[in-house]
């Protein structure tokens, strides 16, 4: 089996195909500290791509509450349980990936969910880890907590779905790393559904073949971010492209946040797929939980996040989230503004680092009324 380099694990690993990185990699960053699970992203995706027959249960984008929310039911705890306890202290992962743990006769360790596992998309929603006792007050990290986890297909560098398909119906585009499932070629074996640990491939019982997130490629090809990103009212997301890990460009906002500042972390890197959606971890959640989910860089990422107010370039990169529907290939902080540029270095957006504050009089003389909001 070929050996490929997985930068998230800091080591080489086995993968059924030769490792060929795309020219640029579709990637997304989510700031979990800002997500309120309003599901606007979910609805934007749903109405754009999956309103058809057989797609009723499909949420190519979903937002679930952690630790008790899952779609499908138990997707992550199920595969973590099958993988077993692994050593993951970093900076090099010494445990098994899902490819290392593949049973004899299988490409990857996986499981096929039951139909009913998709029956409760909002299970665990807003459920906290426990109750606050009388008189208790929250400290950081919180002793009782929950947070929201928005999810799309990770468009992995080493996709499990692609490797599990015996018909090569799934392919990764060399130009942008988007992983697509050929609707003409698929024969509905569901090996991809079984293999993807994130359970982001869905079987369509009407068409009898599988479907998945397409990374909004028609929009992305036109320089526009995905529907889930541009519809996010909380401006928690940015979508763009990442360079190869050894060619990180500090002027690329995604490279800067992920590869250089390591503020945003991959989801379950130990699976070994090199997923390309990245999460700024929630600051209020105990790191012991977050380390399992986002890897060993969690404490450092949270520490970095706390310095954002004094770190102009980092602040500038974060302010680009939700600032424009177009893809920011480059960014620059100049004066009190951050500027986003497209792939041809043309300016597409300019945002002040600090929003101008105007304080109005509490009493409105003209209307003879007191104002409740004066800023």
């Amino acid at each position: 089996m070929p050996r490929v380099y997985n930068w998230q694990l800091g080591r080489e690993m086995d993968y059924p195909y030769e490792g060929r990185r795309p020219e640029k990699q579709f990637a997304m960053i989510f700031d979990t500290n800002k997500c309120i699970a309003c599901q606007t992203c979910t609805v934007a995706c749903k109405t754009t791509w999956t309103p058809g027959r057989g797609q009723e249960y499909m949420y190519w984008n979903n937002v679930e509450t952690k630790p008790y929310g899952y779609y499908p039911l138990g997707w992550d705890v199920n595969i973590l349980d099958k993988l077993g306890v692994q050593e993951m202290d970093g900076p090099v992962y010494r445990g098994k990936t899902l490819f290392d743990a593949a049973p004899t006769g299988e490409v990857i360790l996986g499981y096929l969910p039951e139909d009913l596992d998709y029956a409760h998309p909002n299970i665990g929603e807003d459920d906290c880890t426990g109750l606050m006792s009388q008189g208790a007050h929250l400290t950081l990290p919180h002793m009782q907590w929950m947070f929201y986890l928005p999810r799309i297909c990770n468009h992995c560098t080493y996709p499990a779905c692609l490797s599990a398909c015996p018909r090569q119906s799934i392919y990764k585009r060399p130009e942008d790393g988007i992983v697509l499932l050929d609707q003409s070629r698929c024969r509905g074996y569901r090996e991809c559904v079984k293999g993807c640990p994130y359970k982001k491939v869905y079987f369509n019982a009407q068409t009898r073949v599988s479907e998945k997130c397409i990374g909004c490629y028609p929009a992305v090809e036109g320089g526009r971010q995905t529907q889930c990103t541009i519809s996010c009212i909380g401006k928690i997301r940015i979508q763009g492209f990442m360079s190869a890990p050894d060619k990180a460009n500090a002027d690329n906002p995604l490279d800067y946040l992920v590869l250089i500042r390591k503020l945003a972390l991959p989801l379950y890197p130990q699976f070994g797929l090199e997923p390309n959606t990245y999460y700024i971890p929630p600051v209020h959640v105990p790191p012991v939980f977050l380390r399992q989910m986002f890897g060993w860089g969690v404490e450092q990422a949270i520490a970095t996040y706390r310095t954002v107010a004094e770190d102009r370039k980092l602040l500038g990169a974060l302010i680009l989230f939700g600032a424009t529907p177009e893809i920011s290939h480059y960014f620059r902080v100049t004066g009190d503004e951050v500027i986003g540029y497209d792939g041809k270095q043309a300016e597409i957006v300019r945002v002040p680092l600090r929003e101008p504050v105007v304080i109005r009089e509490v009493y409105d003389i003209k209307h003879k009324a007191y104002r409740t909001n004066i800023t």
């Binding site: 089996m1 059924p16 309103p51 058809g52 027959r53 057989g54 797609q55 009723e56 004899t104 006769g105 299988e106 490409v107 096929l112 969910p113 039951e114 139909d115 998709y118 599990a164 015996p166 018909r167 090569q168 609707q183 003409s184 698929c186 024969r187 509905g188 074996y189 569901r190 090996e191 559904v193 079987f203 369509n204 019982a205 009407q206 068409t207 009898r208 073949v209 479907e211």
Partner: protein
């Protein structure tokens, strides 16, 4: 991975070659009539001698099926000068013809080398340069034809949705929302035959032919399947063998027990069985 497959393939072929001379040939006897032979309960089958075909676990290509549910097929063959037909029967107490995420359908396939002279290609879906034609019957297609293709409400009686694109848009605009159906994926639905007419030149190369010639019919009765697969003996299809009375070739089989989670490579397969087309 490839050297391992090659070794296993060679071992399997050698084992088959050693046993082939002792194998009972499947003789397609001549029966009266014209046109396709598709009735698994037809009287013609009484004239054909059954051959029992041992079915082996598929353990060559990933993913494996170490413990297949079906171990033997009973096969009969007939022809009427125009159409060659196989009756394939096996024990399967569970009828699996509902396809949802975690339910798979029963299937059976017969494979013929395209070339009728020389050594046969690999019995495992052929090999580069060794083309095979594969006719695959599916229980789900049979149900589609016997009743109707199931709607979402048939599959999920409590399903509810406010509106579908095809209810408010014209056919052209609604087509992108139909997924594989919009692209006329041959495994989806809306077929005229329960049998897919296909060709292959090795693992992963299975291709549905643009011109579908294979027909058939299946019935689940007395705890098992009784399936007929038939095709014209001679046609202008360059990817099908021309089998005339007196010809000798080979046939191989594959079977999937949907209730056992068998699909794709997770199947039971057989080596070549000699096939004789009676004069």
């Amino acid at each position: 991975m490839r050297p391992r497959i090659a070794i296993l393939l060679s071992t399997a072929l050698l084992a088959w070659a050693g046993a082939a001379s002792a194998q009972v040939a499947l003789t397609a006897v001549r029966v009266a009539g014209v046109g396709p032979i598709t009735d698994p309960q037809g009287a013609v089958w009484k004239q054909a001698r059954p051959v029992h075909v041992a079915m082996l676990p598929q353990t060559v290509a990933l993913p494996h099926n170490d413990h297949p549910a079906v171990h033997q097929l009973t096969v009969r063959a007939v022809h009427n000068g125009g159409w060659l037909a196989f009756l394939i029967e096996w024990t399967d107490p569970t009828l699996s013809d509902r396809i949802v995420l975690d339910d798979f359908g029963d299937q059976v396939a017969v494979q013929l080398p395209v070339a009728t002279t020389g050594a046969p290609p690999s019995p495992m879906m052929g090999n580069p340069g060794g083309r095979v034609t594969i006719m695959q019957w599916r229980a789900a297609f049979q149900r589609d034809l016997d009743t109707a293709p199931p709607t979402v409400r048939d599959l999920y009686p409590n399903a509810w949705t406010d509106v579908y694109p095809d209810e408010v848009l014209g056919a052209t605009d609604a087509r992108p929302y139909a997924g594989a159906l919009g692209l006329e994926n041959p495994v989806s639905r809306g077929r005229a035959s329960p049998v897919l007419d296909q060709m292959a030149e090795g693992w992963g190369s299975m291709t549905v032919k643009p011109d579908q010639r294979a027909l058939g019919g299946g019935i689940h009765r007395d705890g098992g399947w009784h399936v007929v697969i038939t095709r014209p003996m001679v046609s202008d299809d360059l990817n099908a063998p021309a089998l005339v009375p007196g010809a000798r070739s080979f046939a191989a089989f594959a079977v999937w027990e949907g209730g056992h989670g068998e699909v794709g490579a997770r199947k039971a397969w057989s080596p070549w069985t000699p096939l004789v087309i009676a004069r």
